[in-house]
């Protein structure tokens, strides 16, 4: 209805302007018209945004003429809020595995059924729960090299072992990431983690709780704790450790039993720019673009073809690299083992108790 009205007004205005003016301004007008089509993409800022602009946004604008405006910060609550209010600050955003389940339950993302992406996916698993499978990061163990000269921790069982590896610990204040680590530490094989035995996970966490001086909530906080030597062994995102290593800090990363978190591009439900948004998320999965984005943003691509565009040294910094297959493990968000919200509430109370 509204579009109809706008079109009508637009025609009238054009007629009123008169043919001569239109002709005189034709060339810049075409450009302006093309540039007028805009897509708002929610970004994480920092290197993530710079990598996205260079490798994903600019090539897309070049192909389609659709301008992309980055919008920060990422907020799941905002995604939900804008569907309620109908005022869209961003049309496209990325969601993690747990979030995409909740987003579908709350019906705040566009279904992908019937789209080109769903009809001919570029790789197996490219479409998952109305999201376009894009990239991943990993929660890894990192430690102060000087603190443990007689051997590196090999996995989460060692992280839990305060006899063999004494010292302070730190983990993210995030239930659905930390509970599986507790199970792995307790000896559950990584391929049979899900559905999780939640009570067993909490019993395992009870053992590491006294050594956990702080539960980090911000990525830069986790990095700061490792950089300052405040914490001896920490569970944090792989890129944060790589950055410190690039700075020459004496910290070590353990790729074994790294826990992979997938990220999916999704389209905000009901956005008036749905078509452009769908074209964008399809283009964002192209191997070469995704490879460049992941290299610059320190992530791991989930389109296997992206590794054709990456060197071995570059791939070694990515948790999804073929070399780490079998060593790393993934979350199974569809088969969690309990109500995620209830488990998170329990986790928060457990921390404060």
């Amino acid at each position: 209805m509204q579009n109809h009205k706008q079109g009508h007004l637009g025609r009238r205005a054009a007629l009123a302007l008169g043919g001569g003016v239109v002709t005189a301004l034709a060339a810049p007008n075409v450009r302006r018209l093309r540039a007028a089509e805009v897509l708002f993409v929610n970004t994480w800022g920092g290197i993530w945004e710079r990598a996205a602009i260079k490798n994903l946004f600019e090539p897309f604008t070049k192909d389609t003429g659709i301008e992309i405006r980055p919008v920060s910060p990422v907020s799941f609550a905002k995604l939900a809020q804008q569907v309620r209010s109908g005022a869209y600050e961003f049309d496209v955003t990325t969601l993690g595995g747990g979030e995409i389940i909740r987003a579908n339950q709350a019906k705040i993302i566009e279904p992908l059924e019937g789209t080109d992406l769903a009809k001919s996916p570029p790789f197996p698993g490219a479409v998952f729960q109305n999201g376009a499978t894009s990239h991943a990061f990993a929660t890894v163990i990192a430690y102060q090299k000087a603190r443990y000269p007689n051997g590196a921790p090999a996995g989460w069982a060692d992280f839990w072992d305060q006899g063999k590896f004494p010292g302070s610990r730190c983990m993210q204040r995030y239930a659905s990431r930390v509970l599986p680590l507790g199970l792995v530490a307790d000896g559950v094989p990584t391929d049979t983690l899900y559905p999780m035995d939640i009570d067993r996970a909490f019993r395992s966490l009870d053992k590491i709780k006294p050594a956990t001086r702080v539960w980090w909530t911000q990525g830069q906080q986790s990095q700061q704790l490792l950089r300052d030597g405040e914490i001896d062994m920490i569970a944090l995102w792989h890129a944060r450790v790589l950055e410190l290593q690039d700075e020459g800090k004496p910290v070590e990363i353990v790729w074994n039993q790294a826990q992979i978190d997938r990220a999916y591009w999704v389209v905000a439900k009901g956005t008036p720019r749905r078509d452009a948004a769908l074209r964008y998320i399809e283009a964002a999965l192209k191997p070469e673009r995704l490879a460049g984005f992941c290299r610059d943003a320190m992530l791991g691509p989930l389109n296997p073809a992206a590794f054709n565009h990456l060197s071995e040294a570059e791939a070694a910094r990515m948790p999804t690299a073929p070399a780490y297959k079998g060593k790393v493990f993934e979350q199974d968000v569809l088969n969690f083992g309990g109500d995620v919200n209830a488990v998170t509430q329990r986790f928060e109370r457990w921390i404060g108790a």
Partner: protein, 288 residues
């Protein structure tokens, strides 16, 4: 103050209607702004607390019976009280020195006190992380003196010190406002009548400074009730502030109803504190 209170009374005699309207007209832009961007959203929050997901007072009932929420609320108030007290203890000598100093010196000190406002809140919090850290200067100093100390960071000590640092300027400004107005001749006459410096402080300065003390305490207490980032980043994992729980209910659980109810409870408790203050001292004195 007295002049402003007097003028409407004078002008009422001349043009009762128009003169009393004029200040309101000047206030209109602000009032409209506040109504649109503060009162309406606030009313929405209050509405959501009883309508999401269905109509009823279920959220309030669960807050009142839930040990976790009650503990977090009690913790929040205890923290705010502790921080307000620390601000008073540290701020009083500083404000006193400022009041006693020459005008130029006092201005310089005021700039130093308020300078921390120029730095972003997060940067200040991270700075405390570095200062109190294991390899930071304070730990090094204590080691050098030979003073045994446990971990400084991630304790109630570290979060309290950081919040005190952030809120101290409010206390100093409130105290300075009253201390500055104390007549130096009063202190001199007390001393000349044989009062020792401590009894001058107890019997002359403190009673005259009492409004500023109460102002400062109330201001810091109320502001501190809304804090949560600092305790999460610097405090022990056990410390939880109600504002943090509200944020989490929205960001993680999309639980707008429960979060709204908690926000209303926090707002109501703040209003109760301000109400008590108003009955005893008058709210118009809060800003000195």
């Amino acid at each position: 103050m007295d002049e402003a209170a007097g003028s409407p009374a004078v002008s009422r005699r001349i043009a009762p209607q128009r003169a009393s309207l004029r200040p309101w007209l000047l206030l209109m832009p602000l009032l409209v702004f506040l109504a649109a961007f503060f009162l309406v959203p606030l009313a929405q929050v209050a509405m959501m607390s009883v309508t999401e997901p269905e109509f009823g007072f279920g959220h309030y009932a669960s807050i009142a019976t839930d040990g976790f929420y009650l503990r977090v609320l009690a913790d929040t108030f205890a923290t705010a009280l502790l921080v307000a007290t620390c601000c008073l203890v540290l701020g009083f000598p500083l404000a006193y020195a400022m009041a006693a100093a020459s005008p130029n010196m006092a201005a310089a000190m005021m700039i130093v006190v308020t300078m921390s406002f120029w730095t972003s809140f997060l940067v200040r919090t991270y700075a405390w992380m570095v200062l109190l850290g294991r390899s930071g200067p304070i730990a090094a100093l204590l080691d050098w003196i030979g003073l045994p100390h446990g971990e400084l960071l991630f304790t109630r000590f570290s979060s309290t010190i950081a919040m005190t640092h952030i809120l101290l300027p409010y206390m100093v400004v409130s105290l300075y406002a009253v201390l500055r107005k104390i007549e130096p001749s009063l202190l001199r006459s007390a001393a000349s009548l044989g009062a020792s410096p401590t009894s001058v402080l107890r019997h002359v300065v403190l009673p005259l400074a009492a409004p500023g003390v109460v102002n400062g305490l109330t201001l810091v207490f109320v502001l501190c009730l809304g804090f949560y980032v600092t305790p999460i980043l610097l405090g022990s994992p056990r410390e939880q502030m109600v504002a943090g729980v509200i944020g989490q209910q929205i960001e993680e659980f999309l639980n707008f109803g429960e979060a709204s109810a908690l926000a209303v409870v926090l707002l109501a408790s703040t209003l109760i504190v301000l109400g008590l203050y108003h009955r005893r001292f008058g709210l118009d004195k809060l800003w000195g």
